[in-house]
Amino acid sequence: MTAATAVTAGAAATSSVSPALELRGIVKRFPGVLANDHIDLSVERGEIRALLGENGAGKTTLMRVLYGLYPPDAGEIQLAGQTQHFRSPTDAIEAGLGMVHQHFMLFPSLTVAENIVYGREPRRWGFIDRRTAARQVAALAERYGLEVDPGARVADLSVGLRQRVEILKTLYRDAQVLILDEPTAVLTPQERQGLFRVLRELAGQGKTVIFITHKLQEVMEIADRATVLRNGRVEATVRIADSSPTELCRYMVGRDVLPDPIRTPKSAGDPVLTVADLVVLDNAGRRVVDGVSFEVRAGEIVGLAGVAGNGQSELVAAIAGLRSATAGRVMLSQQDANTTSIAARRRAGLAYIPEDRNRVGLALAASVADNLIMADQRNSSRTPRLSKRGVLSRAGIERYATDLIERFDIKVASTREAVGNLSGGNRQKVVAARELAQEPIVLIAEQPTQGVDVGAAESIHRDLLAVRDAGRAVLLSSAESSEILSLCDRILVMFEGRIVGELSAEAVGADPAAEATLGLLAAGGAT
């Protein structure tokens, strides 16, 4: 046995050396919720540990306690055997912790480079050296295969790109213990591979990685061990080599998760969404959508695939009316929608699950009920009635909200709780519940299952198929190619603002390498 292997073996096995990180008896309470209930967690040097659990199980809370964002109500944190009392993230960073946050913590008005070097800026004569910063960031992005424009303003970036910035920010700081809270929620398979390469490399250097995700395939691929939380408690810690997705799933939800629903072939009807020669400029004036045309017909799910930053976000925003198009047309049920307001589009049967739930899809400070009735507050035809002659009906709203909370299994203390208190996946469920409940003619679903657990993802997939089977239409934009491949009747691939390829369900079904084809197209390769 060589010295090198001896070191790794020693690090991975439990030994007399203190673990890199040890949490003992962590308790964290919120009003009405026991989010962490005496959690013990011990992670070795050089280990990649997956942290799993249903939405609201307490994963983010535990990591925020570790990172100094919440003081624990009880319990102890040790790093390499030393007891720590973090009073703020600054203390945690000082001690060698880094965290990629589920709810991004970036300054929207600063550039990508400024956000990444924040707190550790390269200086020249006492001033921040922007040029060096931009160069360092570009080099970092290049090295890890996470491409970003260092000079772009974060406010102008899509969610996928902001996620890359969060990851790069943590890598820049060169932490010893890396916490990644759902870093892959909106990454494409290619980007994910890049990230995994980085994580393996870091673990090889003896760093410790804690990785939260809802995608079990990722766990099987990257993690050494997995810890499953359930209702704030540790349910199990298992070695991945001895485990299976089914077993992990059982620990998470206490039952076997249903397999994804099967899409039955069905002939499509008339076009209900028509996009013709659409051109959309981004905030810097670039043609990010460059003459796109397609149709979505009734009874069809059409997928929009591609690497983040190739114009999908802007295309979808233009269809929804949140961004104006410089040229081209959008038609809903064959009526021109270009000049109509968002309210008119919604009246024409458009619903929209936006990718950015925190900035667009929700008002975080408002209650769950207030968030659930948006866009429907003027609809007097729905039962229970939400408003009558301009006056809100409190009983109706309460009934409606309670009903949706139950139907979509949203974990909340009450309908009056602020949405900002909800876990990431539960916030996503609020958005999805609201838009699906509109019974839309055309549903635009943008990363509809980001951050939701396997059970909820499966149920949202079922709901999307139900929309289609009821003879209505879905435009599904997702970074998750398995989601696209299993649900869509047709798939459009976007690259640099154009549609560079179209795959049909039949072709995909017959082709075992469909995912690879999709990846190739998305990366700009030819058909």
Binding site: P31, G32, M105, A343, R346, R359, L364, L392
Partner: protein, 365 residues
């Protein structure tokens, strides 16, 4: 799903920082004030007794009436600011809207040939319209000329004030009175006093009604819902189909309209003429702004905050008279109280883990 236990919820809301913080703040300010008075050789107990008496007592509760009379324009202006602020529109032009409202009502009362019974409502409406129009102008500048609302509303205060000053100093001046003021309005246009011999007029009831109406509209109506959502996250409201442009114009018009009406009621109810600086001198608009900010633009909160500010002010006079605490010291004490309330008790209440505050700031992007 765990249902909220009613009792726990009630107890929770009573001990919530929103309620306890102002109480701590007032107690803290009183304590600091006591130290200050001890240090300057005054008897704090006597001074506070005089303050309480000055704010709420007096022969036949005359001081209480003075407090209520003072609170009327403060609460009114607070409400004006709050209705716009609820939607995220910061109207710093309350002063100009107030002055123009007062001026317009005086002009209509003095110079239109309307029959007596119509003159009073016409004057009030003219005041509201003038204030509303001035606020709309700022909203239009924001929309079409890219002058931020904050700056537009603030800057429009100056032309409004100086225009009014010019008019009452020159063309419209009641020369015989020797003062910078208009002639006295006809008796038929005066707002009736609620209690003879005090300055409390029927405008107090109108303001109270407006507060209650606004509270109901914000909480229970569709347009109130849309206003609240726009204030919390305008992108979300727009995404949900709210016409935020129209809503913004509406909110500003209402805000300016209330400010104008308050001006009109002061002119017709208190002074019975437009007197230069009578509306700007007591800083009604700015005190109202402070009340709106402190109350988190809740109408009922504005009512409480406005009454409190008025009481502190009249109480300060009482302290000067009753306990010989010099005016300067009583002003320092007033400022302390307001400052501590503005800090929402953060300076005094122990930090409860700081958890909710940190969480609130988290989802920045």
């Amino acid at each position: 799903m765990s249902r909220f236990r009613k009792g726990a919820a009630l107890w929770g809301s009573l001990t919530a920082p929103a309620i306890t913080a102002p109480i701590f703040a007032v107690l803290g300010a009183l304590m600091l004030g006591a130290l200050l008075m001890l240090a300057t050789g005054h008897d704090p107990l006597a001074a506070y007794r005089a303050m309480l008496e000055g704010a709420l007592g007096g022969r036949q509760l005359a001081n209480l009436m003075a407090t209520l009379a003072r609170a009327t324009p403060i609460v009114g202006m607070g409400l004006a600011i709050a209705v716009a602020l609820r939607g995220g529109y910061l109207n710093l032009g309350g002063e100009g809207q107030l002055v123009l409202g007062g001026l317009a009502s005086a002009l209509v009362a003095l110079y239109t040939p309307l029959p007596g019974w119509l003159l009073l409502p016409a004057s009030l409406i003219a005041g509201a319209l003038a204030g509303g129009a001035w606020a709309l102008l700022a909203a239009g500048l924001d929309r079409w000329c890219r002058v931020p609302l904050l700056i537009g509303t603030l800057l429009l205060n100056y032309p409004a004030r100086y225009l009014a000053s010019y008019l009452v100093n020159h063309p419209l001046r009641d020369v015989a009175s020797g003062m910078s003021q208009t002639h006295r309005v006809p008796e038929a246009v005066e707002l009736p006093r609620l209690i003879a011999g005090t300055r409390l007029h029927i405008g107090a009831l109108i303001v109270l009604a407006l507060v209650l109406a606004a509270a109901w509209i914000v909480r229970r109506t569709r347009v109130g819902y849309e206003l609240r959502m726009t204030g919390l996250n305008p992108s979300f409201a727009r995404y949900g189909g709210v016409d935020t442009v129209r809503l913004g114009f509406g909110a500003m018009m209402l805000s300016g309209g209330i400010a104008g009406l308050v001006g009109a009621m002061e002119v017709l109810g208190t002074h019975h003429r437009f007197i230069d600086n009578a509306l700007t001198g007591p800083l009604y608009a700015w005190t109202g702004l402070m009340a709106a900010l402190l109350a988190g633009s809740s109408p009922l909160g504005v009512l409480a905050a406005g009454l409190f500010f008025a009481a502190v002010h009249t109480g300060g006079f009482g302290m000067e008279r009753g306990a010989q605490v010099p005016r300067e010291l009583s002003r320092v004490l007033q400022a302390l109280m307001i400052l501590l309330i503005a800090a929402r008790g953060q300076l005094l209440t122990p930090r409860r883990g700081g958890s909710t505050a940190a969480a609130g700031k988290a989802g920045a992007t």
